[in-house]
């Protein structure tokens, strides 16, 4: 049986690429190592009755083109809005921003009148910035060293767009590309807890602190989400994040894609310098005209391919590519809702994101510990209770608390993550307990995922949730390797379509779509 294309990895990017290719008439096979599809966008029943969005837990960045082209709603995708961000503070106060703009302004003016005004301006500026960056998301990055006139045109296009920006927007754009999130926000705001909570988007999945230059870009990256045309709104998929992957898989199957789960790849077959298929660990061999890898460059090039097939410089660059996982995930099955001292009882403040980010220094200190190889004793956390929006994922009356925890450095200075896992989980509980003391009494089960678990269970090298850091030197034409940012690789007929390619991670799907369109020779 010979395929036109074999896609390695059934995560959302792999499935997206497969679906686009199949819709263009190609015969495509997807092979997934695990028994479930979705990669890091997966729902699993970890404890009976509790279906966790084990890794990735909110959605916003998923490209609207993909939702439209693949008709995902028809395939069962339903996105429920996540309303607002609630930040409890140690002094008994809180900051609670919601999607209702007027309400948020009133709330911010409780902390600072100046900030309430600046918030308006800031929101507008960020929308402008996201608007500027958006077309770049759907673009195959140009190669600045190429002499091909089409590549030069792309660079010219970017230059023109930049020149087309209003003066003030140009300024913001340059700053966003280079500054630290904290410095960037300092220019607008004075309220510490507001700055800290906003700056948090700048460090998610990145081994940098809020004061590290380059984090303003990650902030923007998280601003590029849109749901139903509304920028930067976040939501849950009904049934958990895995439902997104399931919907893409359904669209792919409908287009004729064959999907095999529990089919771990051992190596990519290369014949005469061309990718010719894959060999599974059970010895099965499948041949195809091309192979598309949605897994990260470490696995693709250092594990699945004989190094003799690759140029030495390319291998050096792949080895240089930085992963540096910095986060863990703790999923809790709860008997009741957490009760926050600063805003007791249930209520709409629990329906959105709950952010443990009481101050800029708090965030920075969390990073400082991680720099020297320890997990933060008081980490930054982004938590959601999806059961308040979608009760179907837990038994009646029970809840799920999904905690994204940073910093948890992949490389520990002493000990191993296998020894430290429970201590890490305890730290998370202790941290929550400072704001919601009842947490200790309502936990039914807990699942602790360290960076090592993310690597072992989900194939994310060093536990990096974006398949490689989103730092400036690893973006755009340099993602994953300078000169190889156009989804192709030094091995002919071998392509890349994962988060390690432009424009990077999050449940965006853009790498999968861009890669497929490039293979098909179509414009985005």
């Amino acid at each position: 049986m010979k395929y036109d294309a074999i896609v390695i990895g059934g995560g959302h990017n792999g499935l997206t690429a497969a679906a686009y290719l199949a819709r263009a008439g190609r015969k495509v096979l997807v092979v997934e190592r695990r028994h479930v599809l979705g990669g890091a966008a997966v729902t699993e029943e970890v404890f009976p009755g509790f279906r966790f969005s084990v890794c990735s837990y909110v959605v916003s960045l998923l490209r609207p083109e993909i939702i439209r082209d693949l008709e995902l709603p028809r395939h069962g995708l339903e996105i429920l809005p996540l309303d607002g961000t609630f930040t409890p503070m140690p002094n008994g106060d809180h900051l609670w921003r919601v999607n209702d703009h007027a309400k948020t302004q009133r709330e911010i003016s409780r902390h600072s009148k100046v900030d309430a005004e600046a918030y308006d301006e800031y929101g507008k500026a960020m929308v402008e910035m996201a608007r500027f960056v958006k077309p770049i998301l759907n673009m195959t990055p140009p190669d600045p060293m190429s002499l091909d006139p089409r590549e030069l045109m792309k660079l010219l296009f970017l230059g023109r767009r930049f020149r087309g920006l209003a003066d003030v927007d140009r300024y913001n754009q340059i700053q966003l590309m280079t500054m630290s999130a904290a410095d960037f926000l300092d220019q607008w705001f004075e309220t510490d807890v507001l700055k800290a909570t906003m700056a948090a988007s700048g460090i998610i999945g990145t081994f940098l602190g809020v004061r590290s230059p380059g984090t303003a870009y990650v902030l923007l990256h998280h601003y590029m989400g849109e749901i139903d045309g509304a920028f930067r709104s976040w939501g849950f998929a009904r049934g958990g994040t895995g439902a997104i992957s399931e919907a893409i898989a359904a669209a792919a199957r409908e287009a004729g894609v064959e999907i095999r789960t529990a089919a771990p790849v051992a190596r990519i077959a290369v014949k005469g310098g061309r990718a010719a298929g894959v060999v599974l660990t059970n010895g099965d061999e499948m041949t195809a005209d091309m192979v598309i890898s949605s897994v990260d460059p470490n696995l693709t090039f250092l594990r699945f391919i004989d190094s003799r097939e690759l140029p030495g410089e390319f291998l050096d660059e792949v080895r240089r590519y930085k992963f540096r996982g910095s986060s863990g995930k703790v999923n809790l099955a709860l008997d009741a809702l957490p009760d926050f001292t600063c805003m007791p009882g249930g209520g709409p403040h629990l329906r959105g994101a709950i952010s443990i980010s009481p101050g800029v220094d708090y965030m920075e200190r969390a990073y400082d510990q991680a720099k020297y190889g320890e997990f933060s004793r008081r980490p930054y956390m982004d938590m959601v209770i999806p059961t308040l929006t979608d009760p179907s994922v837990a038994p009646p009356g029970k809840h799920i608390l999904s905690c994204f925890v940073q910093y948890a450095p992949y490389k520990l200075a002493s000990g191993t993550w296998d020894d430290q896992r429970e201590a890490f989980g305890d730290t998370v509980i202790d941290t929550i307990a400072e704001y919601a003391p009842n947490i200790r009494d309502i936990i039914l089960h807990r699942q602790v995922l360290t960076p090592l678990d993310l690597e072992r269970d989900f194939g994310l090298t060093e536990g990096n949730i974006f398949q490689g850091e989103l730092t400036l030197e690893q973006l755009f034409f340099a993602r994953p390797v300078p000169g190889w940012a156009q989804y192709s690789t030094p091995v002919r007929n071998l392509w890349m379509c994962g988060s390690a390619t432009h424009p990077g991670g999050g449940i965006m799907g853009a790498p999968g779509r861009n890669c497929a369109l490039r293979i098909l020779g179509q414009k985005a």
Partner: protein
């Protein structure tokens, strides 16, 4: 009436004034201190001990050296045989000789792999920074209306970039936004070598080795000499001798220099719809008229301190306020009764020790040690073990100290301008003690050998030397404050929103230390503007 007043007689101010005078403009330099030179000065810290007061190295652009005849005016450049030496507390000392073969041998004792890699890194660094040097030597282009000249410059730079070839071209693009610890880590494995290279990306900046963007500083500061460690040379007689040579060149070109002339305000002529600079008022009330005013003071001080903000649009004022000038460097100068004896050099004889210590001496407990010193600064404090770079200029230039004695010039970092819960006047001695203790960990007899010390905190840099926020570069060197955005996007070509008011200091492109490039580029832009308006 004068043609041009230059506010501030720093290195760039003197360069600008000289070039303007050579172009036939009647130029007056007003310096508030009792001598010119700005950051280039030599001071007597104890009878017979003369030490670089602020900067201890310079790297004047070679074409300026020639065109201003600085050597003729008495400048004597000292190039030590050693670029940098990195003593450790308990192990051997890494000595990076300027001679590549010798450096390689020294590195081999630490790591054979590094010995192989270091020359490669140095070579690639030289190629890559040649392109940056070209960028540093040209005026940033206008984004809205690039002139034909801008386009030609961009094409020239573009061609240089392409000529690098793929590997180096990608390196340049990839290196700029990186953390300097990562860059050093990509090439080298031995900790002293990594830390010594990384240190070059941190001087004067509010960044730690793990901060992204610090590699850009290493590249920019290293661009002048095209070397990652040997950025700049020393001057016989200390940096004050550079100021003297620049002043002599200026006077010969016809520049009037007035010291003790403290400019309080830039005067604006309001007869036209948009204000234009028409001279200055000194703090003693004296008014001096001129057709144009050039400020060597930093952009914040110029735009927010010397001008009435009423003349500037509110958005511009906001942006000027947001220029980051959070100084992080203190300077401590020591008079020492003997050459410090570093533990790691005890195997060498006296001459050997002196040679090893003749360049920059970088004291760091590895990259993490530097990072920990930075950590304290983030929270408004300074570390008990600051990160220190020192030079002993009296080794190469014994005239700076009495026979057998020495002066030790130290950069002490990280010392944030904003201290939390205290102030620099209260902390001065505690900082100096911490620095002395730290040096003594590497050179045990040092504390006892100190005869006198001069402590210059970031607050002193601001009060005494006019550097806003105590920032030695007049504004953080960072990717968002460089090239077309230095000091402000839209105002990177030495002009300001006020007609006939120009900037020429380190706060303008390229602003990378004592090289005179900002001053030279400013002079070119000012001459063009003045000629253009005369032609109309």
């Amino acid at each position: 009436m004068r043609d041009v007043i230059v506010i501030g007689g720093g290195v760039n101010g003197l360069v600008t004034a000289t070039l303007l005078a050579k172009a036939g403009l009647k130029t007056l330099v007003l310096e508030r201190g009792d001598r010119v030179g700005g950051c280039a000065r030599t001071g007597e810290i104890a009878p017979g001990f003369r030490c670089p007061t602020l900067a201890h190295a310079a790297a004047i652009d070679p074409s300026l050296l020639r065109s201003l005849g600085l050597v003729r005016h008495g400048l004597r450049i000292v190039r030590p045989a050693v670029d940098a030496c990195a003593p450790t507390r308990d192990g051997p000392t890494l000595v990076l000789w300027h001679d590549a073969a010798r450096a390689t041998e020294a590195i081999r004792a630490f790591s054979a792999k590094d010995a192989e890699q270091y020359p490669r890194f140095v070579n690639s660094f030289a190629r890559v920074t040649a392109v940056l040097r070209a960028v540093c030597a040209s005026e940033p282009p206008s984004i809205d209306d690039p002139t034909a000249l801008d386009l030609i410059e961009m094409l020239k730079t573009g061609r240089k970039f392409r000529a690098l070839g793929r590997a180096d071209a990608y390196r340049l693009l990839r290196w700029m936004p990186m953390a300097v610890a990562d860059l050093a880590g990509e090439w080298c494995e031995s900790e002293p070598l990594r830390a010594t290279i990384a240190a070059g990306g941190l001087l004067g900046s509010f960044l730690g080795p793990w901060s992204a963007g610090s590699a850009a500083i290493l590249l920019l500061l290293g661009a002048e000499e095209g070397h990652p460690v040997a950025n700049g040379w020393f001057i016989a007689g200390g940096p004050g001798a550079l100021a003297d040579a620049l002043a002599a060149a200026a006077r010969q070109a016809g520049v009037d220099i007035r010291t003790g002339a403290d400019v309080a305000r830039i005067n604006i002529r309001d007869e036209e719809a948009q204000g234009a600079a028409g001279g200055v008022t000194l703090s003693n009330g004296e008014e001096i008229a001129a057709r144009a005013v050039v400020s060597n003071a930093d952009p914040k001080r110029t735009l927010l301190g010397l001008l009435d903000p009423i003349h500037l649009a509110p958005e511009l004022v906001r942006r000027a306020r947001n220029i980051r000038t959070h100084g992080t460097l203190a300077k401590i100068n020591y008079a020492s009764s003997s050459l410090p004896e570093f533990k790691g050099l005890s195997a060498l004889d006296a001459d050997g020790q002196a040679a090893a210590l003749s360049g920059r001496i970088r004291l760091a407990a590895g990259i993490d040690g530097i990072e920990r010193a930075f950590d304290a600064a983030k929270y408004g404090g300074f570390a008990e073990e600051p990160w220190i770079e020192l030079t002993i200029p009296s080794i190469a230039d014994p005239g700076l100290a009495p026979r057998g004695r020495h002066v030790v010039s130290t950069y002490v970092q990280y010392t944030p301008y904003h201290l939390r819960g205290t102030n620099w006047d209260a902390e001065r001695d505690r900082l100096a003690d911490a620095a002395t203790r730290t040096i003594a960990q590497y050179a045990p007899g040092f504390a006892a050998s100190v005869l006198a010390r001069e402590v210059i905190t970031p607050l002193d840099l601001e009060r005494t030397y006019g550097l806003t926020g105590g920032h030695v570069f007049h504004g953080e060197l960072a990717l968002d404050q460089w090239f077309v955005t230095r000091p402000l996007l839209g105002w990177a070509r030495y002009g300001t929103p006020i007609r006939n008011l120009y900037l020429c200091g380190s706060g303008t492109h390229p602003g990378t230390g004592l090289n005179g490039r900002s001053g030279a580029l400013a002079a070119r832009a000012i001459i063009q503007a003045i000629r253009g308006s005369q032609a109309r």
